[in-house]
């Protein structure tokens, strides 16, 4: 892989990670602001092999767990499964369709929150229902919108079949 291709492949994920730690806290409500870190993972996993997607998800999850120790391990499990499944999903769906990608981002965010909430065991009863039916869908929606915008912005770079022979 040439240096130029490498830069183009990693530009969007790096930008998203920087956005997560600089811009996200300025977007208002923390619970519904887009999750740029998850988007960075999904941008990578939807273009990688399922095994690499799972490994990347595990790494992102562990790092995230270090920032929210209350649910240590639950984030790693959730991101591993989401990374693997999003990579597999690309074998089923049309990869370069923006709306399909938006739906994938929405579903992945909601499923991630579902797994974290259940696996951590910290949310119970009405709190769990409220989290899954209100906060998570709202966060998933803003994440999907941000993801579609990022894909539209980096469309030329991300649609390149890097590594293809």
């Amino acid at each position: 892989m040439r240096a130029g291709q490498l830069v183009r492949a990693w530009a969007a994920p790096v930008v998203l990670v920087v956005l997560q730690f600089t811009v996200r806290n300025r977007l208002g409500a923390n619970r519904i602001a887009p999750d740029f870190l998850l988007l960075a993972l999904l941008v990578y996993t939807t273009r990688a092999r399922p095994g690499a997607g799972a490994a990347a998800g595990f790494l992102v999850g562990v790092l995230r767990d270090a920032l929210t120790p209350a649910s240590f391990g639950a984030g790693a499990l959730a991101h591993t499964l989401v990374g693997y499944l999003s990579s597999r999903a690309k074998t089923v769906f049309f990869a370069e369709n923006l709306l399909v990608n938006g739906g994938l981002f929405f579903t992945a965010t909601w499923v991630r929150n579902l797994i974290v909430a259940l696996a951590s065991g910290k949310l119970v009863g009405p709190q769990l229902v409220w989290e899954l039916l209100i906060w998570s869908p709202l966060e998933a929606l803003t994440t999907a919108v941000a993801g579609v915008l990022i894909l539209a912005l980096f469309r030329q770079w991300l649609s390149i079949r890097l590594g293809a022979r």
Partner: protein, 282 residues
Amino acid sequence: MPLGADRYATRGDTFVLLGCVALSLVAMSLPTRVRDPLASGLRRTVLWPLLQLQTQSEQLRTTRARYSRMTVERDSFAIAAAVLGELRAENARLRGLLGLGPRLGIGFVPAEVLHQATATDALTLVISAGSRQGVKVLAPVVAPEGLLGYVSRVEATTSVVATWVNPEFRASGMAADGSVYGIVGPHATSRPGVWLLELRGVPYRQDVTFGTVILTSGLGGVLPRGVPVGTVIAVARESGWERTYLVRPAVAPGSASHVMVLLENHPVDLRSAFAPDSGNPP
């Protein structure tokens, strides 16, 4: 980065998945004494640049807000300067608005809350002050409205705060007039989307009227006396000799952006610092 390669899962991919799932399950079952140093190590190494980035971003946001406030203050002073006799009163009022810090009368460290995008964010918060600023484990963490929690782990430049939402949180509480004492803890089954506290162990013969402000009692030596915890809003349950009250919290951890870590936990009464009119001197 095998982009564009065959994305159908092979046996190797399945092994990687199973390995990662197994490691995740191991991580979930780790005891606190292993888990906390591991998380702390990650925050001090891999995540350190990103936390610094987030801290700088928070400080930049604060700086801009302060700039706007100073502009307003400058304009206010310009108007006040027109009548010199009123300048001193105006100055006192502005100093009063500067915040809770001077009123506390004990050492504190201001810190930004570095929120994360997870459902359990409110249970433990990472803040931008650590041992270099003098923060210690079990140091009380307060917002201008009242108690947020206490420091559960300290690193060089960051700390982890266990908020009152955390299931393990307990504090000795009392009514504002000191007539009733009880144990304050998170209420597990509140209405959807509302985190509430409860005041437990109140003797049945002692009635607490709704609207009573609950403060920390200072018993136990961890939290200082007189920090607002919340307001009694209902009776949660009655059993045997005791009654449990629902308490609306003074501080919402999910929306807290700036906090103060108290550096000294010697017996001190902070009731006057949090009094409703203490921020508005005449």
